[in-house]
C-alpha cells in the first residue's frame, strides 16, 4: 500500500480491501518512524487525520465519494489550514493558526481526502534546498547528508520516502519541480492562474502557483482534478471550464515535436544529468517523437530577472508580518519602530531578510527603472522566446536542475551559486507556463535526475500524457530511496 499509486489506493478503498482509517494509520506510522530522521513534516495532527478518514469511510460506506476520498494528502505548510497551525517554515508564524482554509485545502476537503499533515519548507518558500526553514532542514531520503531541494522540500521528501501518497507544493521559480527532481518524484507547476492562490501565503504574487507532488504523472493528473479551477477570491485565477487532467494519459507519442533548447544542454550542467536527459529524449524519439533544436536566447537573463521581480514583490508581500495583528511579536518594545525592528529581526531568518532587502532596493526611488522596470521588459522577452518556440514544437524538454542533490551546507555560504541552480525552472515561471519534472534515472552516486517538460499555456494534460507514456515504460518513479526502505 505504501508504494501504491493513487488509482490503486482508490480501488483498494472502493473494494474495501482497506479502510481510509487503516490507510491513514499506515502512513501516520510511517511518518512516526521516519520524520525524526527526515524532518519532512512540521505538523502532524493524528486526531484530525483520523477524523477526516472516518468521515471518508462513512461516505464510501454509502457508496459515495470520488477518486481521492479517504486518501491521505500532505500539504505544504504554506497553505492556510483552519485549526492547524500554518508556519510557512518561519518563526514569524510558528504559532499562527489560520481562521480560514486555503482554496486548495477546501478543494481537497470537498474531495474528502484526508489531511495528513503540514510539510516542511524553506522559510516563506525562499530557498532551493529546504535549509532556510526555521524548523531545521529536511533530509533527502536518497542520501541523508544531502538536501531534498526546495522550497517544497518537505513535500518532496515525504512523497519520496512514502510517508504520504501525495502532497501539495507551491512553485514560484522551481519550488515544486526542483525538489521533485532532487527527490526522485514527479511534480507539476501548473499554468499561472490555473490553481487559486487564495490562502497560499504569498511570496511573489505574479509567479506563485500551487501544484501537486506525487510518485507518477497519472497521480499528478488526479490531484490536479481536485486542485485546479476558477476561484473568484483570486483575481488572477483564470476563468475557464473545468478540465479533466487525465484525458491525455493514454495518448501516443508519435509525431510529438520535442523542443530541445540549446541553452539547456550547455556547460554548467553535470555530465550525468545531461546524459540521463539525452537518453530520455532518445527514448521518446524511439517512440515516434521528433526532437527539434530550439533557442531560448534570453535564458541567461532569467535568473537575474526572476530575482529582481520575485524579491520586489516579496519585500512588499512580507510587510504584513509586523507583529501587530498575529504571528511573532517581540517582547516589551519601547516604541513602534522598535516593535517593527525587533519583531522582524527576530521573526525572519537570514535568507528572508536578504531577499526583503534586495527587493526593497530594486523598488527604491532612483533604482526602480533600472531594475524593476527593466526586469519587467526582459520578462516579456522571455515569454516571447517561448511563444516563438511553441510554433516549432509541442513540448520543451531539458534537465530540471543543472545538478543532482547537493550536500547540506554546500551552497549555504554562496547565495548566488544557490540561485543559479534555478536556471532551468525560472523561465517557465516568468512566462507563466506549465512545467513538470519526472525522474529519468540516476547519477553515478545513485541520486535521482529530473527531466523537465514544459508546455504552452494550459497544456498540463498534454505534459501529463507525455510523462505518463514515459513512466509506463520506465520504473524510476517507483523506486524507493535506499535510506527509507519499505
Amino acid at each position: 500500500m505504501l508504494n501504491a499509486t493513487l488509482a490503486e489506493l482508490a480501488s483498494a478503498l472502493a473494494a474495501k480491501r482497506i479502510s481510509g482509517v487503516e490507510l491513514t494509520k499506515l502512513f501516520l506510522a510511517r511518518i512516526a518512524a521516519l520524520n525524526g530522521t527526515l524532518n519532512a513534516f512540521i505538523t502532524v495532527d493524528e486526531e484530525r487525520s483520523l477524523a477526516d478518514a472516518r468521515a471518508a469511510d462513512a461516505l464510501r460506506a454509502r457508496g459515495e465519494g470520488g477518486a481521492l476520498t479517504g486518501i491521505p494528502i500532505a500539504h505544504k505548510d504554506i497553505y492556510c489550514t483552519r485549526g492547524i497551525r500554518t508556519t510557512c517554515g518561519s518563526r514569524m508564524l510558528a504559532n499562527f493558526v489560520s481562521p480560514y482554509d486555503a482554496h486548495v485545502i477546501e478543494r481537497f476537503a470537498a474531495a474528502r481526502a484526508v489531511l495528513l499533515g503540514k510539510t516542511n519548507m524553506d522559510e516563506f518558500a525562499m530557498g532551493s534546498s529546504n535549509e532556510t526553514s526555521y524548523f531545521a532542514p529536511v533530509r533527502n531520503p536518497w542520501d541523508l547528508q544531502r538536501v531534498p531541494g526546495g522550497s517544497s522540500g518537505g513535500s518532496a521528501a515525504a512523497v519520496a520516502a512514502r510517508m504520504t501518497p501525495a502532497a501539495t507544493g507551491t512553485d514560484t521559480g522551481g519550488s515544486i519541480r526542483q525538489p521533485a527532481a532532487l527527490a526522485g518524484i514527479s511534480g507539476l507547476k501548473p499554468t499561472y492562474g490555473a490553481v487559486s492562490r487564495y490562502g497560499m501565503v504569498a511570496f511573489a504574487s505574479s509567479l506563485d502557483q500551487g501544484g501537486p507532488l506525487a510518485k507518477s504523472a497519472a497521480d499528478l493528473a488526479l490531484l490536479m482534478n481536485a486542485m485546479a479551477g476558477h476561484d473568484t477570491r483570486d483575481s488572477t485565477s483564470v476563468e475557464r471550464p473545468a478540465e479533466d487532467y487525465t484525458r491525455s494519459l493514454g495518448h501516443s507519442l508519435a509525431g510529438l515535436r520535442i523542443g530541445l533548447p540549446r541553452e539547456y544542454f550547455a556547460a554548467g550542467v553535470e555530465p550525468d544529468v545531461l546524459a540521463r536527459v539525452r537518453e530520455t529524449v532518445a527514448w521518446f524519439e524511439s517512440q515516434g517523437a521528433r526532437p527539434v533544436e530550439i533557442g531560448l536566447r534570453n535564458t541567461r537573463l532569467a535568473v537575474p530577472v526572476y530575482y529582481v521581480l520575485a524579491l520586489a514583490e516579496a519585500s512588499s508581500n512580507l510587510s504584513r508580518f509586523d507583529g501587530v495583528r498575529y504571528g511573532h511579536r517581540t517582547s516589551d518594545p519601547y516604541d513602534l519602530l522598535d516593535l517593527y525592528r525587533r519583531t522582524r529581526a527576530e521573526g525572519f531568518g537570514a535568507e528572508v531578510k536578504r531577499r526583503i532587502l534586495l527587493g526593497t532596493y530594486v523598488l527604491s526611488h532612483g533604482y526602480y527603472d533600472a531594475y524593476y522596470l527593466q526586469a519587467q521588459k526582459v520578462r516579456r522577452l522571455i515569454a516571447q522566446d517561448f511563444a516563438q518556440a511553441y510554433r516549432e514544437c509541442d513540448v520543451i524538454m531539458g534537465p530540471t536542475a543543472p545538478g543532482t542533490a547537493f550536500p547540506i551546507g554546500a551552497k549555504s555560504a554562496d547565495p548566488v551559486q544557490m540561485y543559479l541552480g534555478d536556471i532551468f525552472t525560472v523561465p517557465a515561471s516568468l512566462a507563466g507556463l506549465p512545467a513538470l519534472s519526472v525522474p529519468c534515472g540516476f547519477d553515478s552516486r545513485g541520486l535521482p535526475v529530473g527531466l523537465q517538460i514544459t508546455g504552452n499555456h494550459f497544456a498540463e494534460a498534454t505534459l501529463l500524457g507525455v510523462a505518463h507514456r514515459y513512466q509506463q515504460a520506465h520504473d524510476w518513479h517507483l523506486r524507493v530511496p535506499k535510506e527509507t526502505p519499505l
Binding site: P99, Y198, V201, S235, L318, H365
Partner: protein, 487 residues
Amino acid sequence: MTWEIVVGIETHAQLLTKSKIFSGAATAFGAAPNTQASGVDIALPGVLPVLNQRAVELAIRFGLAVGGQISRRSIFARKNYFYPDSPKGYQISQYELPIVQGGSITIGVGESEKRIRLTRAHLEEDAGKSLHEDFHGMSGIDLNRAGTPLLEIVSEPDLRSAAEAVAYAKTLHALVRWIEVCDGNMQEGSFRCDANVSVRRAGETRLGTRCEIKNLNSFRFMEQAIDFEAKRQMEILEGGGRIEQETRLYDPDRNETRSMRTKEDAQDYRYFPDPDLLPLVITEQMIEDARRSMPEPPSAKRATYQLLGVSAETVEALLANVDMGKFFESMSQEIRLYGAIPKDQASQVIASAANTTVSSLSSRISDWGSVLATWPDLAREMALIELYVSLGKISSVAAKEARDAVLAREGSVDEVIKKRGLEQLSDAGALESLVDEVLAANAKQVADYRAGRQKAFNSLVGQVMKATRGKANPAQVNEILRSKLGR
C-alpha cells in the same frame, strides 16, 4: 509688495458602496471597533483583494460628471509604508494610470464663473484608525475603516485665494452629493480636503514652493488655514527667507499651521503595480451604463430651475445645500403629482415652493439631513400648503401659520387648517351678507368714502377681514365692497 496666492486641493471622497473596495466587509460608520474587518482587511496571510465593481461605477460616474477622460485601462499600485493602521504594510492605490484624467469644476467667483481644472481622480483604499486614548499608554487599532473605497480628486493649482478654494470645495462637495457618489459627511470623514498652498509675486508665472496643509475638516477651517498659511509664507519671503516644502497640520484651536514633516522626512513609497490585481479595463458599455444611471447633476438642475422662474440666487442656495435642495425636489415632485392643478400653474407653485424653502423654511430648519431621514412626509405637507395658497384655499398669511403649526407637530396640514380654522372664506353669498352688515354698522366711513376719502375704503376692508378673522379672500372682499359702494 503684492502677492498672489496659489492653491490646489486634494480631496478624499468616500464612495457610497455597501462593502469595501477589496473585501466584502461592510463600510457603515460607527460600528464597534474591528467588527467590520474581514480577513482581507486585517491582512491575514494568504488573502487576496477582489475589486468592488460598484466603486468602479461610481468613479466612472464622477469622471463623466466633471467631463474627465475615463481611462480604458488603469493600474492599481502598491504604496508601501509601515504603520499599524495600514495592515498590509502597503496601501492599494492608483499611481501612474488613474481611472479618471482631467475634467473640471466650475465655481462662482463673485458675479462671474471660473473653471478649475482637475488633474486626476483615482481609486484607493482608506487606512484604519489608530486610537491613542483609553489604552493606558498603548495604542488601539480599529480596522473598520481599512479598505473603505476612496476617490482621490486632485485639482490643478488654479485657485487664487482662500475664498476660491472654499468655493471649489463646496462646489465639489455639492457635486459628489448630488450625483450620489459620496455622502459628503465631513464630521465622519467621508469628505476630506488637503490644500497645497504657495505664494508668488504678482506677475510671476512660476509656482512657488508649496506646503501641504492637512486636517481641514470644515470649510471654515479651510479658509482660515489657507489665509494663515499664505500670510506665513509671505512673511518668510518678505523677510528674505525661503519656503521649505513640507506637510503642515492646521490647528483650529490656535488658528495656525504647524510643520508635520519636511521633504527630507518624505518616505520612499516604492510604488509598483499590484500583482494581485489585473489592470482595470473599462468598456464602452460600462461608461454607457454609468451615463444612464447618473443622477441629474447640479448643472442640469440649475437650468431646469431657472426655466421654472426660480431666481438665480434661490437656485444657487438650493444647489449648494444638497439636503435642502433634496427637500425642495420632494416638494416639487408632490406638486407635479397633485392632480387638481393645471401644468402652468404647477410651475408657479414650484417656483414659490423654492422661495419658501430658501427663505421661510431654512430659517426654521437647520439640519435638513435629519429632516429628510426622520420626517419623510414633511415635504408633502409643505407642498400642500403651497398648493392651497395657489388654489385660494388659504391665504398667504394663513399659510405661514399653517407651516409653523405643522413644524410644531400639531398635526397634518389638513388637520391644522381645520383645527385653527385657517380656510379662506370664498363663499360669495356669505361674504356679501357680511359686507352688508359691516356697511350698515359703519355709516360714517361709507359717507367718507363717498366723499372721496380712499382711506375709508381700507378701513372698511379691515372691518370685513376682522369680522372673518382674516379668513376672507382680500381680493374678493375688495371686489364686493366696490360693487356695493358703487364706486
